[in-house]
């Protein structure tokens, strides 16, 4: 077999590439610890149960988006009877005041890039610029 050398070196390169995530993370010191978003302290209950929000907050946000933009509905009756105004910057971020400590923690960990913030303004940006 003349091509033994080429084949073996090809296989080695392939193995190296396929195990890239393992040895890269080992070298970078990344731990297997999950994301740890910092929960707000002033409010204990979100607009929906935490378990639902953890799995489906995107669905809730889409429903809110369509309700506000397309149906001019602004009031949301939560599961516990309380009423909230449907607004990302106004309601969600009024409790989750630090987007970097909450939203970004999980999103960065899961490599999810959301484009909400291309348009929706983080109130922190405004406060910082007005100082």
């Amino acid at each position: 077999m003349r091509d033994r050398g080429v084949i073996y070196s090809g296989l080695l390169i392939f193995l190296g590439l396929i195990t890239f995530p393992v040895w890269h993370d080992m070298a970078a010191g990344t731990t297997s610890r999950g994301p740890q978003p910092i929960l707000p302290t002033q409010e204990k209950q979100c607009v929906a149960p935490a378990s639902y929000m953890r799995t489906s907050h995107m669905h809730l946000l889409m429903d809110w988006r369509d309700a506000v933009v397309r149906h001019d509905a602004h009031s949301f009756k939560a599961f516990n009877g309380k009423t909230y105004t449907m607004s990302l910057a106004g309601t969600c971020l009024s409790c989750h005041t630090n987007k970097a400590d909450f939203c970004d923690r999980c999103h960065n960990y899961a490599a999810v890039s959301v484009y909400c913030w291309d348009c929706h303004v983080d109130p922190k940006l405004v406060r910082r610029s007005s100082q």
Partner: protein, 258 residues
Amino acid sequence: MKITRKRFLELSGACLVALSGREILALLDSPGPSQAGPASAGGPRKRWGMIIDTKKCAKEQGCTRCLEACNTTHNIPAFQNPAHRIEWIWEEPFEDLFPSYETPYLENSRKGEPTPVLCNHCDDPPCVRVCPTGATWKRTEDGIVMMDWHRCIGCRYCMAACPYGSRSFNWLDPRPYIKTLTADFPTRTKGVVEKCTFCSERLAKGQMPACVEACPEKALVFGDLNDPQSEIRKLLASQYTLRRKPELGTGPNVYYVV
């Protein structure tokens, strides 16, 4: 199971019709893109309109309070390059507003007089007709021609269709060009078309549009055209008003007292 090709095709066709029958009936039923549906608790439909009194507006020279109010309320960017400018309400020389009434002998005080123009929220808006995705539509409950910046694909067909030049496109990312950012209203992103929405978010809270509130001369009057007792209807009944390019059949709802 033995089945002939002909029989198979017949059955598939029947299934397709059955499945899509509901959709086809819904399509035939629907009046058009304005499927947003009423959110208010019933009551008669509103038709928001505006009067711009050009004589009151011209009282203070160089006043741009309505433009500034709109621009700050809605995070409108200020571009140096006029090609990229975003304008929801802006000023044009008076003689350009009413080309059908073009005259070589215009009243002197009007020549070049900056007059506010904005989206007319037409009764039969061509921009709504041409939008392929429904990113702009006419709300049935109050007549506002609304924008959904999540859905807009940036094809700019609406910009070609608008006979008034009321629409702007985000040629670049607007964020760096916004002087004072406010969190009360989202910015938009590059690649979508935007225009005046009659401050629908303020109307939802019972407030008047920002431009109307900001005018020191009360030159902008905003109200429900369907309500014969409203201030705007009373004003329209008592003085002569013009609309821009009514001969095109668009039914604009912004009236000018000249």
